[in-house]
Amino acid sequence: MKDQFRMVEFNLNGRDVAHVVDARSSLTDMLRNDYRLTSVKKGCEVGECGACNVLIDGECFNSCLYLAVWVRGKKVRTLESLAGPGGELSDLQQAFIDETAIQCGFCTPGFMMTAVEILESGREYSDDELRKLLSGHLCRCTGYENILRAVRKAMHRRLEGPAPARP
């Protein structure tokens, strides 16, 4: 019973945190239950749907397949890290809204975190490449069409340099 619990210290959305977790917990469970991060969704819990996707040291992982104890000493980013301190939306979030890429909203956070990885690569991808990069996520509402538009738009804006100020 004693060995079942572990202290996990890591960096969560820019803040150093620590929590004692059940060693069997997935990262999804820890982020949802112990840190109440509701953007991390459970859609299958076996790595099929992508709804629980988060960035670990800059790389996307299905957090349902990643043990909570494995993030010790690592940097974890969830969708909650994207908005500014006053709740200002990031360019990516705004692009999802502007392109009507959000419907039920359940796959949205996972998609956005993969899109963060895409945008932060600083590379320009073709539509076919974007489709492949985003294909680890399932969505039943959008047919993926507007998600592609949103990610493409955010990618191009970043590559062009700082987005012009909104009127």
Partner: protein, 770 residues
Amino acid sequence: MGNVGQSVTRLDAYDKATGRAKYTDDLCDKSALVLKIVHSTIAHGLVKSVETSEAAAGRGVVRIFTCFEVPDIPFPTAGHPWSTDPHHQDIADRLMLNRHVRYYGDDVAVVVAEDEVAAARAARLVKVEYEELPFVLDVQEAMKDGTPRIHEEFPGNVLAHTSINKGDYDGAIREPGLICVDRWYETPVVQHCHIENHIVFAYGENGRLVIVSSTQIPHIVRRTVGQALGLPWGKIRLIKPYIGGGFGNKQDTLYEPLTAFVSQQLGGRLVKMDVSREETFVSNRVRHSIRSHLVSWLRPDGTYVARKLECFSDQGAYASHGHSIAAKGLGAFPQMYPCPHVRGDAYTVYTNKPVAGAMRGYGIPQAMFAVESHTDDICLALGLDPEAFRRRNIMPVGYRDNFSKNENYFDSFNQCADRAVAYMDYRRKAAAYKKQAGPVRRGIGLSYLWYNTGVWPISLEHSSCRMVLNQDGSMQLQVAETEIGQGADTAYAQMAADVVGLRDYRDVHVISCQDTDVTPFGLGAYASRQTYVCGFSIRQTGQILKDKILRYAGELTRTPVSSLNVVDSNIVRQTDGRILMPLGDLALEAFYSLEHSEHLTAESTCQIKSNAYSFGCCIAEVEVDIPLCRARLIKIVNVHDCGRLINPALAEAQVHGGMSMGIGFALSEQLLFDPRTGRPLNGNLLDYKLSTFMDHPHLEAQFVENYEPTSPFGTKALGEPPATPVAPAIRNAILNATGVAIDRLPLNPHILFQRFTEEGLIRDSWREEK
């Protein structure tokens, strides 16, 4: 006055884009006990005993309920309005846990534990002893004499059989010289695959049961929980937060009764049922697999003389929505291509498979696959052009259905087809693609679609609405019609703002979460009904609120009410357009006036006794690799006439989602069963081939906007129609490419291999050597 018709941002966009929107699991306290169901591991049989002692001894196990401990009250699950006429009530054929198990995955017992691990461990240790009975998986086999009876009261396993008869089919087909096209078509069992699985939690509060559930139909589930538990319906309170998709699976009572029952038995403790993806595939609902037999008799010039449809709808183990699905498909048959002599028979039949219920399109995707595939088969047999033949025979302008009183007011079919044909360059391609040789060929195919909005006159249609004015001139809006991702709340806000005269739809605060204690009574998300039916109650209620505002304004301004209006959130004198006061100032005065204080609110119900046809057209282009037996979709367009668009951007997004579901239905999705055991073989998202980003080309959605005259806002069905024409269009494109007609979905390599071999396009050398 211009919120309707604008592509405004959805009301929940910010909360969903930041991950803070609360879904059912986000609202459940961590102290909840966890439920885990023990499912049947046989397809048909009787539970002799359930041995729970080993499981119950496990650490963290609180209680185990078996099928011998639940109330013996059969209850209906379908998300239909209740009927006070016993003959129109849904079939009540299941208990919360079943002693007579009727499919592999049926619910036998439920473990209550302190955490998920303890619950799952205990569920595996529960030992169920069965008396196995023979089972049947095929819909027509199930109807034969001597097959096992799945429900005692349904001989031949036929849940229902309905017929239509128009003219004299038998006499008409004796006309000399007729050409007969006679074929069978079949669609598979598929699942909704909303990304949020069904989840529900329940607890006691002041002698009542509170249930928070991921459902499309809060008021209906309140009633069915009351029925299942034998409780007065007022003892149940049902709360519906944001949900992660539904598509019809959540238009059914799922595990709300069982979860509420367990909470009740444990003195109102908080209990949660979080359904797994694997359970969602097997033990929730699926789409009816329907086998259809179509016979058409035509003169050589392509005139329909007589038509016949027989369809066999695979209900699975329990009634759920039952015959409504097959009946909807049958109802579409005589209307789409009217013909003087029509006969139709629809059978809904129990089998030992997962329970079929509502799914986006409600029988019409299956019917459109049969009817629109058959239309191309007729053209092939008679040497006719598929587009010209359709245009010649499609429901004419002015066509009126005597039952629903629906009327085809506009030439929508042809207008939609014109747009689709132009976008796809259909005519040139269809001609060019006929002349191909070689292993990789292209093809282009067409399908129309027909859809009824809402359920009148089969069933009740109404909507209730409440509007409450705030001190600043904004207002709350409540309806029972649910936001399930489609953007319904935003459409309601746009309509309400225009009716009351508010400047901005964001001044309408839609209370998205339904709570049966406070939300006006209504029915929920199904039948592509919500924008249509809510339009009635929003207009009526908005008019009542506006009248109250204007009466109050008349008092304040000493102006006759008939000279006043609310425009852009101002009280305006109509004679000269002068702004007399902002609505917010009026509201503030009304709240706190020492002369005449009044909270300005309005609430009303509107019963709807009309319906509206929704129309559309899909054209798909494919590339078929004959040796690899693969069809790849390369271009597609859907064109819809759903009346005036309330929010064009959200409408377009709805069409994308429907097309995507149609693409999966056409090319890859099917739930498979082991014929020896009845066990589902691929109930997970790896083995069940849901379409991904890689399987889709650009999805082109276009609209023809003919103002629907029966709707206060000129709107009609759009939620489901986009999913209905895609599969036959893709199927007809493969026919155009290869000359091979394929009558079964999905059009995956397995079926293409079989059909291409049969038609001599490829050689099955392995079989030949044997």
